[in-house]
Amino acid sequence: MSTSTVTPQTRGSRFTAAAANYLDERTSISGAVKELGRKIFPDHWSFMLGEVALYSFVVILLSGTFLTFFFDPSMTEVYYDGEYMPLSGIHMSVAYHSSLDLSFEVRGGLLMRQVHHWAALLFVASIGLHMLRVFFTGAFRKPREINWVIGFVLFVLAMAEGFTGYSLPDDLLSGNGLRIIDGMLKGLPVVGVWISYFLFGGEFPGVEVIPRLYVLHIMLLPAILIVTLALHMVLLIVNKHTQFAGPGRTNENVVGVPILPHFAAKAGGFFFLVFGVIMLIATFFTINPIWNYGPYDPSPVSAGTQPDWYIGFADGALRLAPPNWDVHVFGYTLPFGILVPMIALVGLLVVVAIYPFLEAWITGDKREHHIADRPRNAPTRTAIGAAGVTFYAVMWAAASSDIMATHFMLTMEGVIHTLQALLFVGPVIAYIVTKRICLGLQKKDREIALHGFESGRIVRMPGGAYIEVHEQLDEYERWRLVSYTDYAPLMIRPNAKGRITATQRARAALSRWFFEDRIVPPTKGEIEHAKEHGHH
């Protein structure tokens, strides 16, 4: 590159050139821009889910910073002397008082609180959907397993951030949430009572927990979250984005638009859209009206209250345990009614975290995979995902069991017993149905790839018979349907010592489970053959 081509024409471009030069001579940033500036990003609507999560996190940081200027996390008891008459003279903590003040006496304070809360709800939701997208398209496969785990950690951190933040105003509702946490912690064997004791700085509720949660919420957790997020992004760049199968798209290339300018414009614009939508919701819809709940007091509670949506599955899991389930071992108490739901929750999360490694072990496929699967082309995985979603959904629904009962005039017992049954039956049904649907769709794809689709044009044959004309796909359309990886079940073979190990057997069993029912993609030969004989 010769420098003479860069002839500054206008004052603006001269300034830009000078600034760029200044920066580069001190940071050698030109290298990074050269590497990244024209990096290619593929496009698909579902790739935006992760972006929504990222942008709502930025919104959370901005609005949250504003809130810290006004919020005071102290649990010192005061009498309310603010503007909100119904609470006048009531005993409350400074934390609750300052939450009321920043809502009622700071201009735009309520707006920022609502932006913060809505953005948090959207943050967790979009992470969840993003994970589902990655799962159902198999985008977690090599080389992205580690990034899947990092993303999973982000999901857990987001929920932790949500819960700690939700507790800070020290209102009646969040106080009861903390009490439930306290009860769950106390149920843990051996260390439970101690953990609760240390967290609350003594007995529940104490005067320490809100300041401690505040430190976690605004410093420790965000710091970890930001570092983890940065790692997630770095690996995204290193691995490059997956793309869906399509003509010209291969496992060895990326087809899309470059970061500068096109992707940056789309992504940057999208950030403002996400922010704008959150702002609009926060403008018109109240969220968490703490002034209606009153300050925390261990005695009152109101019926029909709900936790934030992402805690619902945990709350629901607790509701589904059967009565009277304390178990005594050597005089010690194991509250199974609490422990079993907790184990189920942790188990679900662990399965989510390790799934990529499990599938990789079953297929034994060590290649890199950059083409996203269509969910139907991995029927067993998709069915497992559907079963998992159903399991989660039943627990989540259980968190509203009382509301369902009162709204639909059902008995509480009826609702809970139904959900208990669904927790076990639901995933099985979801699994079977999903797998059938996937295989059906694959079969249809195969049909269409071989014989074309029904054009809706009826033709009368010279012999008098009517036939519907089948139109062939063009080769671009066909490629979308036929290009997927096909796996066969593993054959058990003796190892070098002539033995068949138990691990081999397990792997073969799993492999059979995964790949026994499969629809093979049509080959060139079959398509040729179908063309020749295609005129029914």
Binding site: K34, E35, I40, F104, E105, V106, G108, L110, L111, N176, R179, G183, K186, G187, V190, G192, V193, W194, G201, G202, E203, F204, P205, G206, N251, E252, N253, V254, P261, H262, K266, G269, M279, T283, D297, P298, S299, V301, S302, A303, L318, G331, Y332, T333, P335, G337, I338, T363, R367, E368, M412, I416, R478, D486, Y487, A488, V520, P521, T523, K524
Partner: protein
């Protein structure tokens, strides 16, 4: 890294990693359909029609101008709709929230829409192809890395001087241990499970109404009624909320004929009046809802139900134990008082509970 391959994509399709990698149980088909390569590029209206192009750019400019106006509106709104609850009432909060919010929201949405329209319609719509390179470093680089570690190992004697290395590991493992102890003072010195066994209740302590603290005469408690109760000396506690979190009680009077009492607890009630801990034995919510005609107490958190007529046994829901009963009697002036503290810990189950 990011060279583009704008030539025929055919070569890109064929490119593959030379290294042999296990394909596992994937089926390699020699007769698989071939990738037809990128379809021809399609032009957009704005590429073909300069009038549309101009129209679009006008639209984008209008959006950006609108955004500026909306931002100014938000600033103006900040002053025009101040919050003034004491004079003008709560409507002022809503107005302030709405006006600032609308300004900010439209300022953001207009920027977003404008930039996206610009990107989608006016920037080049060309798709580019970039080659991927295996994530794995090249063999040369990896050999160099191995050499670096080898050299470092030789120069430091890390592998050879085993004793130095292992004692270092030990020291590093021991080093964080003090930090764990530093956290002991997160909570005071007491044994927590001992604290859980006691509440403010004791012999002779009056049952008073929550929250106003007035004592309750046995005669005030009519059949079917329920009282939310605290101990009369609650305000004397070091931490009122801590004490209250364990001591809250529900007081109910049933028709003595309907009350099924345990033999050893016959004298814990007074003429059909019974007192039970209000703290749910599941995870500790207040069991606040009393259904008078069924004598059932319902916990709103996870719907555990307790049968008051039947020593508060769990009849539904995830709770593990009956609610603990507070033994009560009547003092000389006819007021209800406790006979003793609870005889078991209130609230959720815990490991050392039965010890």
């Amino acid at each position: 890294m990011s060279q583009h391959d704008d030539e025929a994509t055919g070569s890109a399709v064929e490119a593959h990693t030379p290294r042999e990698v296990s394909i596992g149980t994937a089926v390699a088909n020699s007769d698989a359909v071939e990738n037809p390569g990128l379809p021809p590029h399609r032009e957009r209206v704005t590429d073909l029609d300069p009038r549309k192009d101009r129209q679009m750019s006008r639209r984008v400019v209008a959006l950006f101008l609108f955004s500026i106006l909306a931002s100014i509106f938000a600033i103006v709104a900040y002053f025009v709709w101040p919050i003034d609850v004491s004079v003008e009432g709560f409507g002022t909060i809503r107005n302030n929230n709405m006006a600032i919010g609308i300004g900010l929201a439209f300022a953001l949405l207009a920027i977003g829409t404008g930039v996206v329209l610009w990107g989608k319609n006016l920037m080049s719509g060309e798709e580019f192809v970039e080659q991927r390179h295996g994530t794995r470093g090249t063999d040369e680089v990896r050999a160099k890395v191995v050499k670096i570690f080898d050299d470092a190992n030789k120069e430091s004697g890390f592998g050879r001087r085993k004793l130095i290395r292992n004692t270092l590991f030990g020291a590093i493992a021991a080093w964080p241990l003090p930090a764990i102890f530093l956290f002991r003072d997160l909570a005071p010195a007491a044994e927590p499970h001992e604290l859980l066994r006691h509440t403010m209740w004791d012999a002779g302590i009056r049952l008073v109404r929550d929250p106003d603290g007035t004592p309750i005469r046995a005669a005030d408690v009519t059949i079917g009624s329920a009282f939310h109760v605290i101990p009369e000396n609650l305000e004397e506690a070091d931490h009122v909320l801590d004490a209250k979190a364990k001591a809250v009680v529900l007081l109910m009077r049933l028709n003595p004929a309907e009350l099924n009492e345990r033999e050893d607890r016959k004298d814990w009630s007074y003429d059909g009046i019974v007192a039970y801990s209000k703290i749910c034995t599941h995870v500790g919510c207040p069991v606040a809802l009393y259904e008078q005609h069924t004598h059932h107490l319902l916990c709103p958190c996870h719907q555990s139900q307790f049968d008051v007529a039947n020593h508060a046994a769990v009849i539904f829901g995830p709770a593990a134990r009956p609610l603990p009963q507070l033994p009560i009697e009547v003092d000389a002036e006819g007021y209800l008082v406790a006979k003793s503290d609870f005889t078991e810990p209130v609230g959720p189950s815990f490991w050392e509970r039965e010890r």
